[in-house]
């Protein structure tokens, strides 16, 4: 059977490739990585309309074939058929921003010169028109020598015409792929030619980007801009708490109902205990935080889709420069608030290797969503749910402070790294600021769905296995009937915690915390499931104790300084296995991940100690 032809979407950053990819493929897409690198590979399927189906790949945006960062290298290598794990595309769909024609045409000319079959998608013609630009696609097609289709990906306009043009331009299935020509090096010549073609294609033009200019005057104001950014971040973190209350309660009720159903259906014994105390208490206590994680991702996706994210990088460049980084590092670092793994992957857009390495090493200090379950549990248990002046919730304020602590820690570590082990280079900040756009709900929902699937897969695999293993370690061996030792303390996990406890006791950590920290190395949120599972086993058979929530139990067993020290530990806590693995892949070895784990352990221990000793001295 003939294989499906491969179509590559290629173009400058901010040309609307991803929106076009989503519009063409819908939910029929697979997100993964190219083998050997952490550059995201987005592959989808496209029904061509003549019975054929094509594979379509969304290549990372780049300005030329002269690659300057790892993701740009992938684009170049795919186009030349040199990328391991990807065949050479049969057709290039060159996506142009209609409002930036002269600039985007230069790269388009480079791509057309490769000699592969091409179709141009003249995208975002609505925004160009909004900015007073009227274009002639027919004349553009005549000058470029390839079909040009006007599209508005986010409104699904021009897609049928584009699909028809792709069908016509695709070579016959049995035609062998021709090698691509060498890249054109006459950049000044390409620039002149691009300007000439753009001028001919423009029918009418008025001053550009009035809306964008008006918004930028406010959000990029030297004084107002940072205040707006700070306010936005504050609103995000407040929303993470306040919007999630109802869905969290619903998930909790669903798990409680499931637990009751199992207890009513199955006879008491090993399997029932494993399912209720292990799987439901453990996995359930993590899944319950899905709403908060999705709210955080929702805001990040919205900031990206509206075009504000690059503005935030612009505003932060000065501050980042003082830490030896560039504003470009802000985007991976902000993504790391959701999860350090995509954050570290996003560093591939940073061209300077030392800038990039520093960003990777401090990315774990951004408060990832896996810490949210831990923070939420402890804040809910120990911080009163009071409203302060101005309607600000105290719990939200504490959560915000923890995020700020992570950021301050990251800045300090970055400065030290730049003075020491990652000395030299860096500080390069060059970015296009895209037009503001109204985000498309469908694209945001696709993004949220992909993240929810990753989280649930994680909960169903690594967290599930760790929780079950932990339940076994916590449940066996059982103490003799006349033993005064509690089942948890008598268990294998309890004995491991006994070894750790003396090391952790000076910073206020008890046996229960020592026990929770072991599986938290696999994934941070497992600390909560570990506490929940231990609590479920401890209270098994004691109906009064079982009726108390985990938060209530912790409040009765931990002092406030211990709880605060536990929070401080998790601000800096060493990374989960996935982050360590991605750091190893991204830095091509074990040296930097080991360094990262080592310095984070020291930081976490020292910070927790300082918080515990200070809080104890203050009589809290």
């Amino acid at each position: 059977m003939a294989r499906a032809p491969l179509i590559a979407l290629v173009g400058n950053p901010n040309a609307g490739k991803s929106a076009l990819f989503n519009a063409l493929t819908g939910a029929r897409q697979k997100v993964g990585n190219y083998p050997g690198v952490t550059v995201e590979r987005k592959l989808g399927q496209l029904a061509l309309g003549d019975g054929r189906t094509a594979d379509i790949v969304d290549l990372p945006g780049t300005y030329s074939l002269d690659a300057k960062s790892p993701d740009e290298q992938v684009t170049r290598d795919v186009l030349f058929g040199r990328q391991h794990g990807e065949r050479q595309p049969d057709l290039l769909v060159i996506v142009l921003d209609a409002a930036n024609l002269d600039n985007h045409l230069r790269f388009a000319l480079e791509l057309i010169a490769l000699g592969r079959p091409c179709v141009v998608a003249l995208n975002m013609v609505d925004l160009a028109s909004r900015d007073g630009l009227e274009l002639d696609p027919a004349r553009l097609a005549e000058d470029l020598g390839v079909p040009v289709i006007a599209t508005v990906a986010v409104r699904r306009r021009g897609l049928d015409e584009l699909r028809a043009a792709m069908m016509a331009a695709l070579p016959a299935a049995d035609m062998p792929a021709a090698p691509a020509a060498s890249p054109a090096h006459d950049q000044p010549g390409l620039r002149r030619e691009a300007a000439r073609i753009a001028t001919r294609a423009i029918i009418a033009e008025t001053p550009s980007r009035r809306l964008t200019a008006r918004i930028d005057r406010i959000v990029l104001h030297p004084l107002l801009g940072p205040l707006i950014l700070l306010g936005l971040l504050f609103v995000i973190f407040q929303a993470v708490f306040s919007w999630s209350e109802t869905p969290i309660a619903m998930i909790e009720e669903a798990f409680a109902a499931l637990e009751s159903l199992i207890e009513a259906t199955l006879p008491p014994g090993f399997l029932t205990n494993l399912l209720t105390q292990g799987v439901i208490a453990g996995v359930g206590s993590v899944v319950v935080f899905l709403p908060q994680i999705l709210i955080l991702f929702f805001f990040i996706l919205m900031l990206e889709a509206t075009g504000y994210m690059t503005r935030a990088a612009f505003l932060m460049d000065g501050l980042m420069a003082r830490a030896g980084l560039s504003g470009r590092a802000f985007i991976p670092l902000l993504s790391s608030f959701a999860c350090a793994v995509p954050g570290i992957m996003a560093t591939r857009t940073i061209a300077d290797p030392k800038d990039r390495l520093t960003t990777i090493l401090i990315a774990p200090l951004m408060t990832c969503s896996a810490r949210l379950p831990v923070y939420t549990l402890i804040i809910g248990a120990f911080i009163p749910n009071r409203t302060l002046a101005g309607g600000i919730g105290l719990q939200g304020l504490v959560l915000f402070s923890l995020y700020v602590a992570g950021i301050v820690g990251a800045v300090v570590v970055a400065v030290l790294l730049r003075m020491g082990v990652v000395k030299g280079g860096g500080g390069s900040f060059l970015m296009e600021l895209p037009k503001y756009q109204m985000p498309l709900l469908r694209d945001v929902l696709i993004g949220l769905w992909q993240r929810a699937a990753i989280f649930l897969k994680r909960a169903g695999t690594i967290i599930f296995y760790t929780t079950v293993l932990l339940w076994l370690l916590l449940s066996f061996p059982k103490p003799p009937a006349d033993s005064a030792v509690s089942p948890v303390n008598y268990s294998a996990a309890g004995r491991i915690a006994n070894v750790l406890e003396p090391v952790l006791r000076p910073i206020g950590f008890n046996h229960e915390i020592a026990l929770a920290l072991i599986p938290a190395m696999a994934a941070r949120e497992v600390a909560v499931s570990a506490l929940a599972t231990a609590n479920a086993i401890e209270t098994s058979g004691d109906e009064d104790a079982t009726a108390h929530s985990l938060a209530e139990r912790l409040r009765g067993r931990w002092s406030l300084p211990t709880a605060l020290a536990f929070l401080a530990w998790f601000v800096f806590a060493p990374q989960c296995i996935s982050t360590i693995a991605i750091t190893r892949r991204e830095t091509n070895g074990w040296r930097w991940p080991l360094f990262m784990v080592g310095y984070l352990f020291v930081l976490a221990y020292v910070a927790a100690g300082i918080v515990f000793w200070t809080a104890t001295a203050a009589g809290l």
Binding site: Y63, N103, F314, S428, E432, L433
Partner: protein, 68 residues
């Protein structure tokens, strides 16, 4: 400025003879990043990059080349 940054600036349209307009400057005490209009595009760059670019104003009195 590195050669790669110079090449990227040219790819963004900041080349000899290009018309640019300074739109925004971040930072309170020390100058932060700059945002310039190049053609119909807005390009953001660090203060260090901006300082490395010579511009000539189109004001009648602004003949001399000066950094942004």
């Amino acid at each position: 400025m590195s050669a790669a940054d110079g090449a990227r600036l040219r790819e963004l349209g900041l080349d000899e003879g290009a018309s640019i307009e300074l739109l925004h400057r971040a930072g309170w005490l020390k100058p932060g990043a700059h945002a310039c209009r190049v053609g119909r595009m807005i390009v953001a760059m660090s203060a260090a990059h901006a300082a490395a670019i010579s511009v000539r104003t189109d004001h009648p009195a602004g003949d001399a080349a000066a950094p942004i």
